[in-house]
Subunit: 82 residues, 2 copies
């Protein structure tokens, strides 16, 4: 059993009004120390597979469904789990 | 300058139809090895503050805005950045 953590965020070239709104809200809540904020999606998957196959499986999942590869970039970590 | 990575996920007791839908979709895309999936939000923040203050600032941000503490749990990591 392997556990994958997948992080999907907008590419730098893509405008993200949601992140801008959150940043503005945090500034209004008296957090002036915030200089930059990006937001994205986070997935935690459990896979009943071998270590060798886990990475290719997660890669395919990201390409096909979890990320919109035109606008988003993704990265993932795979760790062994019981 | 410190960088904080914040992960916000639903508590285990909260039903998450979005995660169920993604899981079903991945099964239909021929990934039967997927046994469990949770999804959540991911924020990356840059803070112009001291190390001592960074953790309390991020904690307050989560409590006040980033997470809905009734339904969601959060965790964060803080690392030094240039």
């Amino acid at each position: 059993m392997y556990r994958a953590k997948v992080y999907v965020t907008y590419k730098d070239s893509i405008l993200d009004p949601q992140a801008e709104a959150i940043k503005t809200a945090l500034h209004q809540l008296e957090f002036p120390e915030l200089t930059q904020l990006t937001c994205g999606k986070y997935f935690e998957l459990e896979l009943a597979t071998t270590e060798a196959k886990a990475a290719t499986t997660v890669e395919q999942m990201c390409q096909k469904l979890l990320a919109n590869v035109n606008m988003e970039s993704y990265r993932y970590e795979i760790v062994a789990a019981e």
